[in-house]
């Protein structure tokens, strides 16, 4: 048996992406939405690294994974600041109640 191949990695990454998408759509809390986005970014980075190992001859896919991780960290920092700001102003971070811009 040879299960450590690119198909396994693609299946794992697909599952991570789908759970992230489900979490992003269904959550009402903004932090829950951020958790789903982190899952999606994680699956993309895993897919880049898997293709770099199995079907490329150099390490550029891993480099893209590192850039994705850096951008995810930046996104989490900005999201924390924005959530604190929203919470101080509205007292709630429910995404359904933040409808001040609705016409």
């Amino acid at each position: 048996m040879d299960i450590i191949n690119i198909n396994s990695y693609m299946i794992i990454s697909l599952m991570l992406f789908l759970f992230g998408l489900f979490t992003t759509i269904t959550r009402r809390n903004i932090i829950g939405i951020i958790l789903g986005i982190e899952l999606i970014l994680n699956s993309a980075a895993l897919n880049f690294a898997a293709f770099s190992k199995f079907s490329a001859s150099n390490l550029e896919g891993q480099l893209f994974s590192i850039f994705i991780i850096v951008i995810a960290a930046a996104e989490a920092a900005i999201a924390l600041a924005l959530m604190l700001s929203i919470f101080m102003r509205h007292g709630d971070i429910n995404a359904d109640k933040l409808d001040r811009l609705r016409g």
Binding site: I31, L59, A73, L80, S85
Partner: protein
């Protein structure tokens, strides 16, 4: 049909990556979701080790677990009272039905395209894949990908200043 020890460990790591996603997606308590995300990130680091990406695995553990997850836990603890945390992560039924349909359509389309195209991926690793990745990654970062490296550093500086400005304005 003989299964080596490495493949058993790979299966355990893959299950450790996939199973906490159920808790992330369906738990009512958002602290449970965040702690389940810890196991997912740890399992992804293990999968990076199976890809011989040692530097990437260490970066995953340091930045995702040490940075992103701690930031998210801070966000949870700063924005919610501890008393009503059990009901903070409610799912909307209408949205979950919609999201389930969308997810099923996407997984069906991806599986159909994968089966119908008969892509042939090389199943074995390349023989000229470097054994130690850190030196090769450093060479790539400072020669071919120098401009994205600098752009990412400017982005990190902007994030540092911007998050301080946004959070400071809210406190005042």
């Amino acid at each position: 049909m003989n299964i080596e020890l490495k493949e058993i460990v790979f299966l355990c790591v893959a299950i450790m990556t996939i199973l906490p996603c159920f808790i992330v997606a369906f738990s009512r308590n958002i602290l449970h979701s965040a702690f389940a995300l810890f196991f997912t990130f740890l399992g992804t680091a293990g999968l990076y080790f199976f890809l011989d990406a040692d530097f990437l695995a260490v970066v995953q553990v340091i930045i995702y677990i040490g940075g992103v997850l701690v930031l998210l836990l801070f966000a949870i603890l700063l924005t919610r009272n501890i008393e009503d945390i059990k009901t903070t992560n409610s799912l909307s039924i209408k949205h979950s039905v919609l999201a389930g349909i969308v997810s099923l359509i996407i997984i069906g389309g991806l599986l159909y395209s994968y089966i119908s195209n008969r892509w042939v991926f090389p199943l074995r690793e390349n023989p000229d894949y470097p054994y130690f990745t850190i030196k090769e990654l450093g060479d790539l970062l400072l020669t071919k990908y120098l401009l994205p490296f600098e752009v990412v550093s400017i982005l990190l500086l902007a994030v540092l200043i911007g998050s301080l400005v946004i959070a400071n304005r809210s406190v005042r």
